[in-house]
């Protein structure tokens, strides 16, 4: 509890004791009223002050105003005890709210407590302990076992393993050796590392993640906006109802004081706080729970959108596959040797940094002298034409051969096929394929189990795409797409999706920024350290496990379910209380209990979002269905 809360608690206790004392005292009439005013003002002075300020600023209809009117009205009707009680309960409720909210805020913040406290910097032969934001790029820092890596950098000395759990939710440690990049926020497990800092603190991974999560509550969900809009009409409407209730029935039935006190009950119920607090808290909890699992969600609106996703579109390379290519088959045309073919292709592509070129170079082996290749011309989406040892070598896909008018033998093996032609004569083909991630198939199954249609978009040829699609059990495969085709195909998929549902696209964030931003929800994977992916996507998976997509969806759905429960529950209880209050069956005490009780339950329910739902248990003997 903070100081303000302690003060409120003290006021509540004192006022309660005083009120009880007055209750049992022999005082009568005006003396009794005057005696009750002591605890009333003690407990309610801040409410009354704020209500007066509210009227002064013409900002009526806030809770202080409502409470002031209700209790002053009760006093005026001679219901002094009720007046004091209502104010007391109201303050108890407020205290509980601020305590519960503060506590849940802190527990969510604790989940994200990856901020490093200090950095050991090597300066002038000694080691200086500095605040991480005083360290400059180029400085050398020392990270001892058990310490958190404070800034992004490159290892220059030492071998160790790093626990990335706080960033990725993954418990398997990663190895770090000289030359490796290390990311801030990881915990060094075994050896001492010397690291050259590459980024200032505010651009380091840990700062970017913290900022992203902290700002996520600024992007409000539709449910949240609905509730604030609703609150804007609800309170005045209930107040108008109260005014009518106070005036109209007694005109016909008489008995003013009864109706006025029922009207005051209305005012107590009209406070929309339970809703206004529990909805954002639910989203905050959902986002906090997700970030602990290594899923960063940039706002409540994206969590909401993800909950209604019915289509998930995957990019293939790097998302469902490891993104590591290797040559799996070489089919030379007659008169050519496999080694020769590989060497020519590797040289022709030697200027490119594309993963395919790299795997060709690897397969060709040995040291290729780059000077043998010249005049490389890249034909986007098709391949390369270059001069190798003075001869024109073309290496690329089937479209390249067609474009150049070279007759070739089609290779239908699954994978990316590179056709090679020398001096416009077909020399053979090389098949390069990418391995599927071991978790991809279960990721697809997990989504399908949630009623999601899965789609694969890829630039690969039909054979490769369909082989992958079949191995993964994906519902729909679109192959042979150029980067620009992908956006177009995305438009078509968006037009086809079931009404009121959303479409998510998962990619590695490297070449698919336009598609990422075009989809309703863009999910970037394996983003640890990749600024571009963090920037472009709405949801960022810190590691590259595609199963996290269905986990994110379960979190989103659970969160939305809790939000709906709270809306229905809070409105339902308030509605019932309004009705009972109007009929005189519920007094002001019942009303305030309803108000505080609903809020407490709604807040407790909202906190449940922090717990990340587990993988639903497979139907097995003895396995209980999850009902969290």
């Amino acid at each position: 509890m903070n100081r303000k809360q302690k003060l409120t608690l003290a006021r509540i206790l004192t006022a309660a004791v005083l009120a009880v004392a007055v209750h049992f005292s022999p005082l009568e009439g005006w003396g009794r009223l005057a005696a009750y005013l002591v605890p009333y003002f003690l407990i309610g002075y801040d409410v009354l002050r704020q209500a007066a300020l509210g009227i002064w600023h013409r900002e009526i209809f806030d809770e202080n105003f409502l409470m002031a009117i209700a209790t002053v009205g009760a006093l005026a009707l001679g219901q002094v005890e009720e007046g004091v009680e209502v104010m007391l309960f109201y303050q108890v409720g407020e205290l509980f709210q601020s305590y519960a909210v503060g506590k849940s805020r802190r527990s969510i913040a604790a989940l994200m407590d990856i901020r490093p406290d200090a950095a050991n910097v090597e300066r002038d032969g000694g080691i200086l302990v500095l605040d991480p934001d005083e360290v400059q790029p180029g400085d050398v820092i020392v990270v001892r076992p058990g310490e958190r890596v404070p800034l992004d950098g490159t290892v220059i000395e030492g071998v160790s393993s790093l626990n990335t759990g706080a960033l990725t939710g993954e418990s398997l440690p990663r190895d770090a050796a000289p030359g490796d990049e290390v990311i801030s926020g990881c915990i060094n497990l075994s050896g001492v590392l010397r690291v050259r800092v590459t980024k200032p603190f505010e651009e380091s991974t840990v700062s970017r993640i913290l900022e992203l999560v902290e700002n996520s509550s600024l992007k409000k969900s539709r449910a949240e906006n609905f509730i604030t809009r609703f609150a804007r009409y609800y309170t005045p409407a209930v107040c108008a109802g109260a005014a009518l209730l106070a005036v109209v029935p007694p005109l016909f039935l008489g008995d003013w004081s009864v109706w006025v006190s029922r009207a005051l009950t209305f005012l107590v119920i009209s406070c929309p706080c339970a809703l206004v607090i529990s909805i954002p808290l639910s989203f905050f909890g959902g986002i906090g729970g997700a970030s602990r699992a290594g899923i960063l969600v940039k706002g409540g609106n994206y969590l909401e959108a993800l909950a209604s996703a019915k289509t998930v579109v995957f990019d293939k390379t790097g998302t469902l596959t490891k993104g590591v290519f290797s040559v799996t088959a070489v089919a030379p045309a007659s008169g050519w040797q496999p080694g020769e073919l590989l060497e020519l292709a590797a040289l022709a592509e030697s200027y490119s940094n594309h993963p395919i070129s790299r795997s060709l170079r690897e397969a060709a082996g040995g040291q290729l002298s780059l000077s043998r290749a010249a005049d490389a011309q890249e034909l986007a989406g098709n391949g390369v034409v270059a001069q190798v040892d003075g001869k024109e070598v073309a290496a690329g896909n089937a479209r390249l051969m067609e474009k150049l008018g070279i007759p070739f033998t089609e290779n239908s093996r699954p994978g990316t096929v590179v056709y090679v032609a020398v001096e416009r004569r077909f020399a053979g083909s090389i098949v390069i394929s990418d391995e599927l991630k071991p978790t991809s198939a279960s990721a697809v199954r997990g989504l399908q189990a949630q009623g999601v249609r899965t789609v694969l978009l890829t630039g690969d040829n039909d054979a490769a795409a369909h082989a992958a699609g079949e191995a993964l059990g994906i519902d729909e495969v679109h192959s042979g797409l150029l980067p620009t085709d992908k956006v177009e195909r995305m438009e078509q998929l968006l037009a086809q999706k079931p009404p009121k549902s959303t479409l998510a696209f998962a990619g590695d964030g490297i070449n698919d920024a336009p598609v990422l931003s075009r989809a309703d929800i863009g999910i970037a994977m394996g983003a640890m350290g990749s600024d571009a992916a963090i920037e472009a996507a709405d949801i960022v998976l810190m590691d590259d496990d595609p199963r996290k997509i269905s986990l994110a969806m379960r979190i989103a759905r659970k969160c939305l379910r809790i939000v709906r429960e709270n809306i229905v529950f809070a409105l339902g209880v308030k509605g019932v209380c309004l009705l009972l209050g109007a009929l005189g069956a519920a007094g002001m005490q019942a009303a305030i209990f309803a108000d505080v009780g609903v809020m407490v339950l709604a807040v407790l329910n909202a906190i449940r979002t922090l717990r990340v739902p587990r993988e639903p248990a497979r139907p097995q003997a003895g396995a209980l269905p999850e009902n969290a």
Partner: protein, 71 residues
């Protein structure tokens, strides 16, 4: 220009009302208050940002006199 400030506000409904009031100020393109994050985001034109921020603080205080904004 977009800027974020730390704000201390005790009640969720007040935060929502402040957000609405600030959004209506002239010169403010967009505003958001996160009760849970205790943050205020203001997007407004650069030239009179500082004087605008004074107005923002005044507006917030009008809704909830107890609130505090760290400029």
């Amino acid at each position: 220009m977009k800027r974020k400030y730390k704000i201390t506000v005790d009640c969720a409904n007040c935060a929502a009302k402040m957000e609405n009031a600030v959004k209506k100020l002239e010169g403010v393109t967009d505003a958001s208050i996160s009760f849970l994050g205790q943050k205020l985001m203001i997007e407004a034109s650069e030239e009179r940002f500082d004087s605008l921020m004074k107005e923002v603080v005044r507006t917030c205080k009008r809704v909830e006199p107890d609130c505090e904004i760290e400029l």
